[in-house]
């Protein structure tokens, strides 16, 4: 082989390798590499039964129950499809409130209750003043009501 064709072979080999890497990489990201599981996944048994793992979702409105004599809290988490109950003892982060996204780390009990050792509040990428948020919510509800009528 002369030096031109040799160089060509090398370049083709490198480009091919990078292409293979890209294809594999993109396929890999279609598989789920999760930081947390959703309640639906937990219900369908995709989450580990014997180990601790993370659950993520929104706190269901009106589901938070605090124990009167201890720091224990119980609340429901939803991904708008399934609901599961989470139990936690400790101080919750400031951002924790109903309707807010959270990520909890803990174990699944035999009765389907999730006992968390740690609860983290996930904030979203939206930043706006409270009045705007309220206005947005109101208009959303108005839209919902409208579509409900039709």
């Amino acid at each position: 082989m002369n030096r031109r064709s040799r160089r060509k072979v090398l370049i083709i080999a490198i480009v091919f390798g990078v292409a293979v890497a890209a294809v594999l990489g993109l396929t890999a990201f279609e598989e789920n590499l999760l930081y947390f599981y959703s309640p639906t996944q937990v219900k369908e048994g995709e989450a580990p039964q014997t180990h601790s793992f993370r659950v993520g979702g929104l706190v269901v409105d009106g589901s938070v129950k605090r124990a009167p004599d201890s720091l224990m809290v119980q609340f429901d988490v939803t991904d708008n499809t399934e609901v599961m109950t989470v139990e936690y003892t400790g101080i919750l982060p400031d951002l924790f409130r109903e309707g807010q996204g959270i990520v909890a780390m803990g174990n699944l009990q035999a009765d389907g209750k999730f006992v968390a050792q740690e609860v983290l509040a996930k904030h979203d990428e939206n930043y706006m003043p409270p009045e705007v948020a309220a206005a947005l919510k109101a208009s959303e509800q108005a839209a919902k009501a409208k579509s409900g009528k039709i």
């Binding site: 990201f29 590499l33 999760l34 930081y35 947390f36 993520g56 101080i91 919750l92 982060p93 400031d94 951002l95 924790f96 807010q100 990520v103 740690e118 609860v119 983290l120 509040a121 996930k122 904030h123 979203d124 990428e125 939206n126 930043y127 706006m128 003043p129 409270p130 009045e131 705007v132 948020a133 309220a134």
Partner: protein
């Protein structure tokens, strides 16, 4: 040589930075979710942007230095490293301070945070290699190559939030169609970003100039410059 530029960059960085801070801390409205604590965003986010931006500058100018043998490009890369490391450090610290009240933890091993930490290590590796090799030109080339190899980490950091379901929030501003941020908050944030960039430009110019003078300390033009003083 570059003195007027440096002066201009410094002054405008200061003015825009102060104005941005004023807008951010006193004028911008409180957030509907996070209350007042979100205001750390005006430091945290520009610093994090800078940590990636400076690394890209370093890698690109190292590439130019290696391929076209331009010494100035190598010097820009070498001068940028400590600045980039500082911004990375600031982004990590402010992120931790923000994380405690918001998430409930200073540090979480999720993809975004971990890869930002790796970025800090990459900066350290660059600086260590740079100082370990005595011959200045090979030091530039060797650490430059390391910077280029480290670039594989940059897309991982940038997209980690989208690829993985992380605790860290998704992109706020980079959505071109409609940034998910109220305009009164967005303006100070962008002002701060511009101020940080100008600050970087000023510092990198000063550092590159010093580097050039130091490296050519035995050359005639530097000697003559010193004698004049």
């Amino acid at each position: 040589m570059s003195a007027p530029l440096i002066k201009w960059f410094t002054v405008s960085a200061l003015l825009i930075g102060l104005y941005g801070l004023y807008l951010g801390l006193f004028v911008a409205p409180t957030d509907y979710q996070q209350g007042e604590s979100y205001r750390i965003i005006f430091i945290h986010v520009p610093a994090a942007w800078m940590s990636l931006f400076i690394y890209m500058v370093m890698a690109i100018s190292s590439g130019i230095g290696i391929i076209w043998q331009i010494r100035l490009a190598d010097m820009v890369a070498a001068a940028s490293a400590p600045i980039g490391a500082s911004f990375t450090f600031i982004a990590l610290v402010t992120g931790a301070l923000w994380g405690k009240p918001m998430w409930g933890a200073y540090w979480v091993w999720d993809a975004r945070l971990t890869s930002e930490l790796i970025l800090l290590f990459l900066y350290f590796g660059y600086m260590a290699l740079q100082s370990a090799i005595e011959d200045q030109r090979s030091a530039d080339k060797a650490s430059g190559l390391l910077a280029i190899v480290g670039v594989v980490n940059i897309p991982i950091i940038h997209y980690s939030v989208e690829w993985w379901n992380t605790l860290h929030q998704g992109a706020t501003v980079a959505k071109f169609d409609k940034p998910s941020m109220h305009i009164d908050m967005l303006i100070p944030l962008l002002l701060m970003a511009v101020a940080f960039k100008l600050f970087y430009a000023a510092v990198v110019l000063v550092r590159t100039r010093n580097e050039a003078l130091y490296r050519d300390r035995n050359r005639r033009w530097v000697r003559e410059l010193i004698e004049k003083l």
